[in-house]
């Protein structure tokens, strides 16, 4: 169902005469992908679309999305390495992300979470009529708010992510949480610092603190430090020009980075336990 002239890139619901929706299928099982492809061809008359790709895992899907515009992602929830829920969160970080329709064989937690957050989903084995309905609805409504996807994903799988996705020049960058030294709130964004470089994310520091409470500790109103990145603390007596306001205070010495972060007086009792324990 490929259209000869490429429709202008943009939200799928924008056009008056509906352009063919560009669909990406993500599932780790080949027969499951074949099934979706077959069903899509069955409903081609009723729902104008074009399958722009198939991906066997989350990384493949992200790579595909970088190379071509995608309107709708049919996303399997249970995939190895990066689950469908995690991929959905990364996709939600894109400025013009594709709409996502979750597909799940059986996962009580995920299905409950989708229902609570009013997300549409399909259960395997998928039926053609149900698939069409979901595609039409998602075309009408467009992509779901990133915050809703995030909340649903957290409800379905309360474990912390292994990657934080950052959007840079139209690409999704995955930053492994294990490599992050600190997270620091600055104006509108949060800086993610690894030993190599810094990234910016729109996620809130409070939400990040809550999710990564196991591996990160708050040292200041605006900063979270990876517990295993702390090499020590240093007392600064002299008046300095940074935000601690010239009062004597403690600073965190990082393991892999020649940079100090101030510890607020309020957080010091919490933080000092780490070094003594």
């Amino acid at each position: 169902m490929s259209t000869s002239a490429d429709p202008p890139a943009g939200p799928p619901s924008a056009g008056t005469a509906r352009a063919a929706a560009r669909v990406l299928i993500v599932d780790d099982e080949a027969p499951a992908r074949a099934r979706i492809v077959a069903l899509l061809s069955d409903i081609a008359d009723q729902f104008s679309h074009e399958v722009v790709g198939e991906a066997g895992n989350g990384r493949e899907a992200l790579a595909l999305i970088e190379t071509r515009p995608v309107d709708i992602v049919l996303l399997d929830v249970q995939m190895p390495d990066m689950t469908g829920l995690e991929l959905a969160r990364h996709l939600a970080a894109l400025p013009v992300g594709p709409a996502v329709v979750f597909v799940s064989a059986y996962d009580e937690f995920a299905l409950k979470a989708f229902e609570v957050h009013a997300l549409d989903y399909l259960v395997k084995p998928v039926r053609a009529a149900r698939l069409r309905e979901a595609l039409e609805r998602v075309t009408r409504l467009g992509a779901v708010q990133p915050a809703v996807i995030r909340a649903a994903a957290r409800a379905a799988d309360p474990r912390a992510r292994e990657m934080i996705s950052v959007h840079e020049r139209g690409r999704v960058q995955l930053v492994p949480v294990a490599e992050i030294l600190y997270l620091k709130a600055e104006l509108k964004y949060v800086t993610i610092r690894t030993a190599q470089r810094a990234y910016l994310t729109e996620e809130s520091l409070v939400a990040l603190e809550e999710e990564f409470a196991e591996s990160f500790v708050r040292v200041h109103r605006n900063a979270l430090i990876a517990r295993n990145a702390i090499s020590g603390f240093e007392r600064v007596e002299a008046v300095s020009e940074d935000e601690a306001g010239g009062e004597p205070h403690w600073e965190v010495v990082l393991r892999d980075l020649d940079e100090r972060l101030p510890v607020s007086r309020r957080q010091w009792p919490v933080v000092k336990v780490l070094i003594k324990g």
Partner: protein
């Protein structure tokens, strides 16, 4: 269902559900009980079972030493008294257990009262034989043979009564274990994914879809059987192969299987669905959560009177742990414990990046071997 003409009338009635089946979910078909499942069988302890033998020897010894201890005035008297008692007690005890073990097969088909009488007679006979043989040698116990025989019969009766009480108290536990066996049988996740995979194959590869449905049907036929049944190890391994064939279609090359089955071991009887849940576990925790190619090992070997089974899968670490983790392992462990007591074992270990489950159970050859 076959008719069991030689059964009790109560078992013959087709409308009567088997005891303990009330707890089963509706729609599950449970075949009628076989003659060997009569509760009276449970009343007769298995004298050949290591665990039971150990318990009997320990408790009888403690009992007799206790009696000596009550009348002893000093440690010296107590120790020499114990030695005196042990000299005649141990031969009688072991002879009784040996005869009991040998005669078990003969007694099993009899009604419960005859089984009890038979066991009492064995203890009396064992006492008389041992004292007749040892009496002239040691000079101990001679002249008191009939007194000792009466004592032996009393102890034997007490043990039989204890075994009866134990079997009574075990009945709810058995019913519960059966229910757990049913619940742990299949992950809904597996069922829906398999059906979805079949649907995905039907148009492109009808032949493979066909064989997948056949395997699925075969698997479900076994799942509907009475969980208390026993099958040969070869049958159970075949079931595992069918299960793995279904998963292989779904997971593709990610799933590699290595089997090493000793022919001499595969004739043994095992509880139905002993290995399949463990293999399913291995796929669920070792293959599915990873994008990498992973191998499942299934090895079976016979070591003397035992059969050793190894099931191993890649260990993906704590992080990859998925919910419902311990269910299958705990279920199989409990069933082994109920069926074989100390002789059945299930151990797990993480070795060289692989998660290993080892099962050891006694080799049971007779196709008509009774449960416990």
């Amino acid at each position: 269902m076959q008719s069991n003409r030689d059964n009790d009338a109560s078992i013959e009635q087709p409308a009567t559900p088997p005891p303990g089946a009330e707890a089963l979910p509706p729609g599950v078909i449970v075949p009628r009980r076989r003659a060997s499942d009569r509760p009276s069988i449970d009343a007769l302890p298995d004298w050949c079972n290591l665990g039971i033998t150990l318990r009997v020897v320990t408790s009888v010894n403690l009992l007799f030493f206790g009696v000596v201890g009550v009348s002893a005035r000093s440690w010296g008297v107590f120790v020499s008294g114990c030695l005196d008692v042990a000299a005649s007690l141990e031969p009688i005890l072991f002879a009784s257990l040996l005869l009991g073990c040998l005669a078990r097969r003969l007694l099993l088909p009899l009604a419960a009262p005859w089984q009890v009488a038979g066991n009492l007679a064995i203890s009396v006979a064992a006492t008389l034989i041992v004292e007749a043989l040892l009496g002239p040698l040691s000079g101990l116990g001679s002249g008191y043979a009939w007194r000792d025989a009466a004592l032996a019969a009393t102890v034997c009766g007490a043990i039989l009564y204890w075994a009866y009480l134990r079997s009574q108290s075990n009945l709810p536990a058995l019913a519960e274990a059966r229910l757990q066996a049913l619940q742990a049988r299949i992950r809904p996740h597996f069922l829906f994914n398999s059906l979805n995979a079949v649907l995905g194959l039907i148009r492109t590869d009808p032949k493979r879809a066909e064989s997948m449905l056949e395997d699925l049907a075969e698997l479900f036929r076994v799942l509907m059987r009475d969980p208390r049944e026993r099958v040969t190890l070869a049958e159970e391994i075949e079931l595992c192969r069918q299960y793995l064939a279904i998963e292989a279609l779904r997971l593709g090359e990610r799933l590699q299987v290595h089997t090493d089955i000793e022919i001499g071991a595969s004739g043994t009887l095992v509880p139905l669905l002993l290995l399949q849940p463990l293999v399913e576990n291995a796929v669920h925790h070792g293959i599915e959560p990873s994008t990498a190619v992973g191998r499942i090992d299934l090895e079976v070997a016979r070591n003397g009177s035992f059969v050793d089974i190894l099931i191993a899968n890649p260990w993906l670490g704590e992080r990859a742990k998925r919910p419902g983790n311990q269910m299958a392992l705990e279920n199989v462990r409990q069933r082994l414990n109920l069926l074989y007591d100390l002789e059945g074992q299930l151990t797990t270990a993480v070795k060289n990046g692989r998660f290993e489950v080892r099962v050891r159970l006694p080799y049971t050859s007779s196709p008509h071997e009774h449960e416990r």
